[in-house]
């Protein structure tokens, strides 16, 4: 009797929260029938699982992998090596040539059967795959007649020459080995001469050169053949011997000598590194001097309309023509082509002329520049695109190529160039500015003033850099002079003069550079002063 029955009997409402009988019923149904057990017997178990011992477990193994291909057959196959001439047959394991696959479809026949047929004869032709590495060394060959005619040498018999050539061939021109194995047993009564490697080389090279020249006359040799010929004929055994002696001495140096050499080498390396940095700096300087100083006008883009800086007269003329063309399209033409006479002048033109005059006055006294914002020009056209350079100047209309991103203070243009990265450099800039009597605070930083200031600051930067270079050069000259002093002390007087001349030239060169530097610097400072004056006015 279950709890539900009890509730039914007592008339209690069914417990909706947990319906266990339903669940239990389900599990009983769900439990799968055990294998090898009658269903009736299994039902006797109720909801509990039967004890393990009653279940016959059928072990399940992993399925055998299905392989489509068969095991590749290998065979202990005989082979012959084409590099041998005795036909020795050795055996090695080799993949058996697969039998032709049965033609299942047309596609497989076309795709697979055809290459297999191709392969077989190809492999037969190829032969043993390592035979190709058998590369014999080429040595000169000669007939007895040729030997008698050209290769005679009082120091060498033909037999010994033959022996040498065989050895060279056998040991692949490895001269150390040839010399080591050289053991000529002379057949005649005169004993075999002891031969050094240089003797052997000299003889072999001579023979090679003569045979080469005999086979191919020098006049008809190709470039590589001739270079080989000249190489063969230029062998110098005496020089080679002395070189070997030097090398031997080098080999037997003591530890102290080795140490000294390594110190000297590192010293040399250091000097070379210094030299190269110096060279780089000088190149940098030359680079700087060759190029014109970038004017600040392009940077501010005051005059720039079309985008590029109009720094040359040709470009300016072009600009004028462009503006003129634009102007012609408009009814109210204010620009006058040079060819147009004064008779064609419209009242507007006259007015513009007057305005131009006024503009020039206004430009002179910038204080009144802002006084007439709504002048006649504003009536003449709704857009400011057609403003003449003069009027755009007047109304401070500026055109920029590109505005730098972000917000920045206009005052930065005045304060930033005064500050350099290092404090020393900042001080130097301050000193130069003080010398030029530029006030700390510039009273009226108009557009033009700022422009002039920027130009000035660029000049100051160049001046400082050139000063630095000049100092370096001076110290260099001092070092050279000191070196010269030491050298001249050590050496004789004859040499000393030479050195002096040399150094003099050197110093002159340096001096010129220096003078150039100074000139430049003064020029810059002059320019700075000029601009300064202009700013003041």
């Amino acid at each position: 009797m279950s709890a539900q029955d009890m509730r039914d009997v007592l008339g209690l409402p069914g417990d909706g929260a947990r319906p266990p009988p339903l669940k239990k019923q389900k599990t009983v149904e769900k439990r799968p029938l055990e294998k090898g057990m009658a269903r009736e017997v299994s039902a006797l178990m109720g909801e509990r699982a039967p004890p393990l011992s009653m279940i016959q477990v059928q072990p399940k193994y992993k399925q055998r992998p299905k392989r489509q291909h068969k095991v590749t057959p290998w065979e202990w196959a005989p082979f012959k090596n084409q590099a041998r001439d005795d036909g020795l047959t050795l055996h090695h394991w080799q993949r058996k040539q697969p039998p032709k696959p049965a033609p299942v479809t047309d596609v497989s026949q076309d795709g697979e059967a055809a290459p297999v047929e191709d392969q077989k004869p190809e492999q037969k032709e190829k032969g043993y795959q390592f035979a190709k590495f058998n590369v014999p060394v080429e040595v000169p060959t000669y007939t007895p007649e040729l030997y008698d005619a050209q290769l005679q040498d009082p120091d060498w018999t033909k037999e010994e020459t033959d022996y040498l050539i065989t050895l060279v061939k056998d040991f692949g021109q490895k001269w150390a080995v040839v010399t080591d194995r050289y053991d000529y047993q002379s057949t005649t009564e005169q004993p075999a001469k002891p031969r050094t490697m240089e003797d052997l080389k000299a003889r072999y090279y001579t023979v090679s050169a003569r045979v080469l020249a005999h086979n191919i006359p020098i006049s008809s040799m190709t470039g590589s053949q001739y270079s080989l010929y000249s190489l063969l004929t230029s062998f110098n055994p005496v020089q080679e011997t002395s070189r070997k002696r030097l090398a031997e001495g080098h080999l037997h140096r003591t530890q102290a000598e080795v140490d000294e050499e390594s110190t000297l080498l590192s010293e040399l390396q250091r000097i070379m590194a210094y030299q190269s940095t110096l060279e780089a700096e000088r190149a940098d300087l030359r680079h700087r001097l060759d190029y014109p100083i970038a004017t600040s006008s392009t940077a501010t883009g005051l005059a720039g309309v079309g985008g590029a800086g109009y720094s040359t007269s040709a470009a300016l003329a072009q600009l004028f023509q462009q503006l003129l063309a634009q102007d012609r399209l408009k009814k109210d033409r204010r620009l006058k082509a040079p060819g147009e006479g004064p008779a064609g002048q419209t009242p507007g033109g006259q007015a513009s002329g007057a305005a131009g005059h006024r503009d020039s006055l206004a430009a002179g006294s910038s204080t009144s520049a802002r006084k007439a914002p709504g002048g006649r020009d504003s009536i003449s056209g709704p857009s400011d695109r057609a403003l003449s350079p003069r009027s755009s100047n007047r109304y401070f209309v500026t055109h920029h190529d590109r505005l730098s991103a972000g917000v920045q203070f206009a005052s930065d243009k005045l304060s930033k160039p005064r500050v350099a990265k290092s404090a020393i450099q900042t001080e130097r800039i301050a000193a130069v500015l003080q010398h030029l009597q530029i006030p700390e605070v510039i009273g009226l930083p108009t557009q033009r003033v700022v422009e002039e200031f920027e130009r000035l600051m660029a000049g100051v930067g160049t001046l400082l850099e050139l000063r630095k270079v000049a100092e370096k050069e001076e110290s260099e000259i001092r070092v050279r002079e000191a070196e010269k002093g030491i050298r001249s002390e050590g050496e004789g007087k004859v040499k000393k003069e030479e050195v002096e001349v040399e150094v003099d030239v050197d110093v002159e060169g340096e001096g010129e550079g220096e003078r150039g530097t100074k000139r430049d610097a003064s020029h810059v400072s002059e320019g700075g002063e000029e601009s300064n004056k202009r700013t003041k006015t």
Partner: protein
């Protein structure tokens, strides 16, 4: 990788043809198949001659037979003190034993012909192959080409004799001989090297250029493993109290005793004790274990008796004395710690002054020490190859396994030649150094490009044994 795909030939340039490699030495004979990394068969070069029985012709080969304490068994060695074969009769049998006992014994049916690998449908085509298998080959090595190593100073007669044995007694289809120095260099992958091979009987220095031995530079001396053993014996006798040397076969049971105390062991009783030569062989085994576990070389710089670099007024020997000594226990339980003594016994390899000597063991010749031999070898070769060789010094041989030997050689050579760069190459693996020459032979004989170098049976029949001089030039 699919195992049915053969490795590309260009990958390792190998082509294995089941060649045999035989590396006979005066202490052990190494044999195996080319292409493997260790010799399968290592047989002692000593052999037993039972004298009591009437079977005079029967020799005892192999470890098991040799170390059995038989009465009246004489232990002999077919090699001279120069590691050159003296007794050809026994040597050939010994070599044959080393190959047939482990490698080619009773001939099994080749795997290709035992029916397991025959595909069903191509049986008809293979019908003639079965006939091939039936063919009887009575010679022991009729199927395997043979590569034999030899010392660099092997006389021409010995080379020809070796070839005759291989071709006529063993029936090899192809044969080649290589110098041990060259093969050892190949094992460490260097065609140009200065090989210092410290064996049992001889230490040799072989300069090698592009695979060719520079014969004029070859040096050899007897200051090798056996010399160290004799130094140890001398050291034992000179110590107070002298060290008793009792081989294993003499000891029945033993009790632990304190260091230096006399042993407490019961000894075997023999009606007729084994021969003196047998006892010597067994003593050598104890000395070998002493060498392997205790002996060390002063690593340099300087000699053991030289002035110390660190502390003025002291020698390196004084520095060694401060090191903790190492204990060694004899088979009968006697044990002792060894300090300076374990350094002293190998010093003779480097300086004659450092060697122990008495009336029977004279001071070694200065030119037989390792640095002197290297110097002599280098002086005999061309100047330009010397730095090359010094940069490729290969140290090999079982004797080189003495601790810190490589460091000492490096230090000695660097002191001799401060200018060129000296580099001593050794493998850390003991097997690679013990079987260096064999491994080189194994590499060489399994190369595809090498198969054109074999001297075939046909060539031998045409030209006779003199062809070995012409063809094996290494």
């Amino acid at each position: 990788m699919n195992s049915s795909v053969p490795p590309a030939a260009q990958e390792y340039a190998g082509d294995e043809i089941n060649a045999l490699v035989l590396d006979p030495g005066s202490n052990t004979i190494r044999a195996g198949f080319a292409g493997e990394d260790t010799p399968k068969s290592v047989v002692p070069s000593f052999y037993g001659v039972p004298q009591s029985s009437d079977a005079q012709s029967q020799y005892l080969f192999g470890e098991n037979a040799l170390h059995n304490p038989l009465t009246h068994m004489d232990v002999r060695n077919p090699y001279s003190s120069d590691s050159v074969v003296e007794d050809w009769d026994v040597a050939s049998k010994l070599w044959e034993y080393s190959i047939t006992s482990r490698l080619t014994g009773t001939r099994p049916t080749p795997a290709a012909k035992n029916g397991l690998n025959d595909p069903a449908e191509v049986k008809d085509e293979d019908g003639d192959m079965a006939m091939e298998g039936v063919e009887e080959l009575e010679k022991p090595m009729a199927e395997n080409p043979l590569l034999v190593s030899e010392p660099a100073w092997n006389p021409q007669k010995a080379r020809e004799k070796t070839m005759e044995i291989a071709m006529e007694d063993w029936g090899v289809p192809a044969f080649w001989m290589g110098k041990t120095g060259m093969l050892a260099a190949f094992a460490s992958g260097k065609p140009t090297a200065l090989v210092i091979d410290i064996g049992a009987n001889t230490t040799s220095v072989t300069p090698l250029l592009d695979g060719f031995v520079l014969r004029k530079g070859v040096q050899k001396s007897n200051l090798a493993g056996n010399y160290i053993s004799s130094q140890i014996r001398l050291q034992f006798s000179q110590m107070t109290p002298s060290v008793p040397l009792v081989p294993h076969y003499m000891v029945k049971s033993k009790q632990p005793v304190d260091a230096g105390a006399s042993s407490n062991a019961t000894y075997m009783q023999f009606a007729t004790p084994p021969t003196e030569s047998y006892r010597k062989l067994e003593e050598e085994r104890v000395l070998t274990s002493f060498k392997e576990s205790i002996v060390q070389v002063w690593p340099g710089p300087g000699k053991l008796d030289g002035a110390s670099g660190q502390i003025p007024g002291q020698t390196n020997a004084d520095a060694v004395k401060t090191l903790p000594p190492k204990p060694f226990e004899m088979p009968d339980g006697w044990n002792q710690v060894f300090g300076l003594e374990r350094f002293r016994v190998v010093e003779g390899l480097f300086s004659p002054q450092g060697a122990l000597s008495d009336a029977e063991n004279p001071v070694p010749d200065a030119k037989h020490t390792i640095p002197a031999m290297v110097q002599a070898a280098l002086n005999a070769v061309d100047v330009e190859t010397r730095p090359l060789l010094l940069n490729n010094v290969v140290l090999t041989g079982g004797g080189s396994l003495v601790e810190k030997l490589a460091e000492r050689v490096q230090a000695e050579l660097s002191a001799l030649y401060p200018n060129p760069r000296v580099r001593v190459h050794t493998t850390s693996s003991a097997t690679d150094r013990k079987y260096g020459a064999w491994i080189g032979g194994s590499v060489l004989a399994s190369l595809g490009t090498f198969h054109q170098m074999w001297i075939s049976k046909k060539e031998y029949e045409e030209h006779g044994s003199g062809i070995v001089e012409k063809r094996c030039k290494s």
